[in-house]
């Protein structure tokens, strides 16, 4: 992989949270993200799927330097300058913030209810001092708002006047106003109705072309991810278990978890009987994950070595661009 093409190179990062019940008890550590490596190419639409507890949100926020990265490296290549997020100065962080932004899941809590839409969209410009005068700010706000199909009267209103889909568009406009190169969309369509979902996804796709954006799209909804993303990474309990171009992943999943996930998606065709692979048991606690392959406790057909926890996790490239955790590679 040509390193010029990678916008973001994530190498073996872990994100730990320490947690203490009260200030007299012992500190406990939860590894929300463990030893994750992923390369995000410039201009691509990378999907990150996983269920609850997979660590996808934590990973997304860690890449935006909103969570502290406990180990590993994340490098953001921006043309001639590299930003190492694990070792970044205050000044560099300020610059990075202009280039990488986040779109939230819940359109209702992501917008400050007491600010007008114009102020909400203008805030990044004002805080990051991107524009100097009010006219410049207004011009830029109007420009980005029209790209998100918000018109002038909308700018004067407060968030309570808008529907979910419209609010999400305001969120998107806010994320784009600083002219970023990289956007993390954290479950950005999960709270929307299906008919609006399609609208927002189309908007994201067209904005990608128009503004040369790179996306990391976090979702639990595989069918949505399949349609919009080029590359998909599947996460389970803090680890990435499979990465593949989306068509390849859906046609030819190699990891048992991916297979189970795909089989669980209900089909719109009532004739098609569901043949969901049943995963036994519950997701293990993040405080006490299984040794070796974390999926072994629920894998439908583990080998003896898997069950014992002898096999360490690590991605192996089985086909060009298709990486699978070595536990499942050995199974075949």
């Amino acid at each position: 992989m040509n390193s010029d093409q990678n916008l973001i190179a994530i190498k073996n990062i872990s994100v730990d949270f320490s947690f203490q019940e009260n200030f007299l008890s012992k500190k406990q550590k939860i590894q929300a993200v463990k030893n994750v490596s992923l390369n995000i190419k410039k201009g691509s639409f990378v999907g990150l799927v996983g269920e609850s507890g997979s660590g996808k949100t934590t990973l997304g926020r860690a890449i935006l330097a909103a969570n502290k990265i406990s180990s590993g490296k994340v490098i953001f290549h921006d043309g001639d300058k590299d930003y190492d997020l694990t070792n970044i100065s205050k000044q560099e962080l300020k610059e990075y913030r202009k280039k990488a932004q986040l779109i939230f899941q819940d359109p209702y809590s992501a917008l400050s209810p007491r600010m007008t839409v114009r102020d909400i969209i203008a805030e990044p410009l004002e805080v990051m001092k991107i524009t100097n005068t009010r006219e410049e700010t207004d011009k830029r706000v109007r420009e980005i708002a029209s790209k998100c199909r918000l018109n002038l009267e909308h700018l004067r209103r407060y968030p309570h006047a808008f529907s979910g889909g419209q609010r999400q568009r305001i969120s998107i406009a806010r994320a784009l106003v600083s002219n970023p190169k990289f956007i993390v969309a954290d479950e950005s369509v999960a709270a929307l109705d299906v008919s609006i979902q399609a609208d927002i996804l189309n908007l994201l796709k067209s904005l990608r072309k128009e503004l040369n954006l790179t996306y990391l799209f976090i979702s639990h909804d595989l069918s949505v991810v399949a349609h919009v993303c080029d590359v998909v990474a599947v996460m389970y309990l803090g680890h990435i278990v499979e990465i593949a171009p989306s068509r390849e992943l859906f046609k030819n999943p190699r990891h048992s978890y991916t297979k189970a996930l795909l089989s669980s998606i209900p089909s719109i065709d009532p004739e098609k009987q569901s043949n969901a692979i049943e995963l036994k048991g519950e997701i293990p606690s993040a405080m006490n994950p299984p040794s070796g392959c974390v999926f072994r406790t629920r894998c439908p057909n583990p080998t003896h070595d898997c069950k014992e926890g002898n096999i360490e996790m690590g991605l192996i490239e089985v086909n060009p661009g298709h990486w699978v955790d070595q536990c499942c590679v050995n199974c075949k």
Partner: protein
């Protein structure tokens, strides 16, 4: 057709107004539809005006200087428009005549002279005792801090009578007009309440704000301080302070002191509310969005957090007011707060505890009605504000 288009335009305008309404406009609109709150608001406004313009409205100086020696323990005198002798546009009072002689055992006996010639007429805007506005004469401990602002002197009052006295609520033992004293008491209570609430509010904002915004161990420490202050028992505290306060302090200084102390022990409740609001708001996603732009804590607090709970804080302030007033009343009543000659409800009530007052001079209790109205109107306005406070929450009918 025209009317239909006009209606559509009006609808669109109304809708647009709703969409662009700031939170205060929404709160005000909601408050207006709450009838009991609006009526309470009206009463509150009247009370406040009575207090602020107490000097102008009261016909007599509420201190010893204005006492009416001829009419001690006097019953309330209500002006009449009509009596057997005919109607008069100007309200009038009967002349009171005193007589004492052997037949009455040398005790003063009052009789009313209902003759028309002896009527005394009420006038508007007569000249009366001098009163000052905006004059400050502060004597703080240490001569250096004393300062005096002369202010304006007025002589006019709202109403008066051509001869003798007019005592709408009667007089007390020394002949002081209870009506004037009541109005001044309202003023003093409002002033104590304002200063107390102001001090409590500033402290609560700072301590609750730091506690709520930063969380962690800072929060822990601040909460311990808050809880400590909250459990300080007010009565013993005031007993100690009362004994420490030097007697040479003027009544104004004393008044200021009491108000400050009330504020200094009243902030914990408010601080707790501020902290709770902040703790819940700061985990909202829009705060994270601002942080991801690199916004500084002061920007986040002023732009996002403070506006989100300004409405609640206003409600808290309005509701704390009556507590301050009642605390001061209670303290003054038991003698630990303000004392004669300062007028406050507590002081007025102190005089009312004697048996002969209870039996004979019931008009001493008229100020109580005023205070009940004052406190209740604060409470109702506060309730109404609280109901309208979150303009983005749907009201349940």
């Amino acid at each position: 057709m025209e009317a239909k288009i006009q209606n559509i335009h009006k609808d669109i305008k109304a809708k647009e107004a709703y969409f662009s309404a700031t939170q205060f406009q929404l709160i005000y609109a909601r408050f207006r539809s709450n009838r009991s709150a609006m009526i309470a608001g009206l009463f509150l406004l009247i009370m406040i005006l009575l207090g602020v313009f107490a000097d102008f409205i009261s016909p007599y100086d509420p201190t010893i200087a204005g006492r009416d020696k001829d009419y001690e323990h006097g019953a309330p005198q209500i002006p009449l428009f009509w009596d057997d002798n005919g109607f008069s546009l100007r309200p009038f009072l009967y002349t009171l005549e005193r007589y004492r002689g052997k037949d009455t055992n040398f005790r003063w006996v009052y009789t009313l002279n209902k003759e028309k010639e002896k009527r005394r007429y009420v006038y508007l805007f007569p000249k009366g005792w001098k009163h000052k506005a905006l004059a400050f004469n502060v004597n703080l401990p240490g001569k250096k801090f004393d300062f005096k602002i002369p202010g304006f002197t007025f002589e006019r009052h709202l109403f008066g009578i051509d001869s003798g006295g007019i005592h709408l609520f009667g007089t007390d033992k020394a002949g002081k007009d209870i009506f004037s004293r009541t109005l001044h008491a309202i003023y003093i209570s409002l002033a104590v309440g304002t200063i107390g609430v102001f001090i409590a509010f500033v402290l609560a904002l700072i301590i609750g704000g730091i506690s709520g915004y930063f969380g962690g161990w800072i929060d822990g420490v601040m909460q311990m301080i808050t809880d400590t202050v909250r459990v300080i028992p007010p009565i013993p505290l005031f007993m100690v302070l009362a004994s420490f306060a030097p007697p040479e302090w003027s009544s104004e200084t004393r008044f200021f002191f009491i108000a400050c102390i009330l504020g200094l022990i009243g902030w914990p409740t408010l601080a707790r509310r501020v902290r709770t609001h902040l703790l819940s708001e700061r985990s909202q996603e829009y705060v994270l969005a601002a942080k991801l732009c690199g916004a500084s804590p002061s920007h986040i607090i002023s732009r996002h957090l403070l506006p989100s709970f300004t409405s609640y804080i206003i409600v808290d302030l309005v509701i704390s007011f009556p507590y301050m007033v009642l605390s001061e009343t209670a303290l003054s009543f038991i003698g630990l707060g303000l004392r004669e000659p300062v007028n406050s409800l507590g002081v007025l009530l102190q005089n009312a505890t004697r048996a002969d007052v209870l039996l004979n001079y019931q008009w001493y209790f008229i100020p109580v009605i005023f205070f009940i109205v004052l406190v209740l109107s604060f409470v109702f306005v506060g309730d109404g504000l609280r109901d309208s406070a979150d303009p983005y929450k749907v009201l349940k009918k």
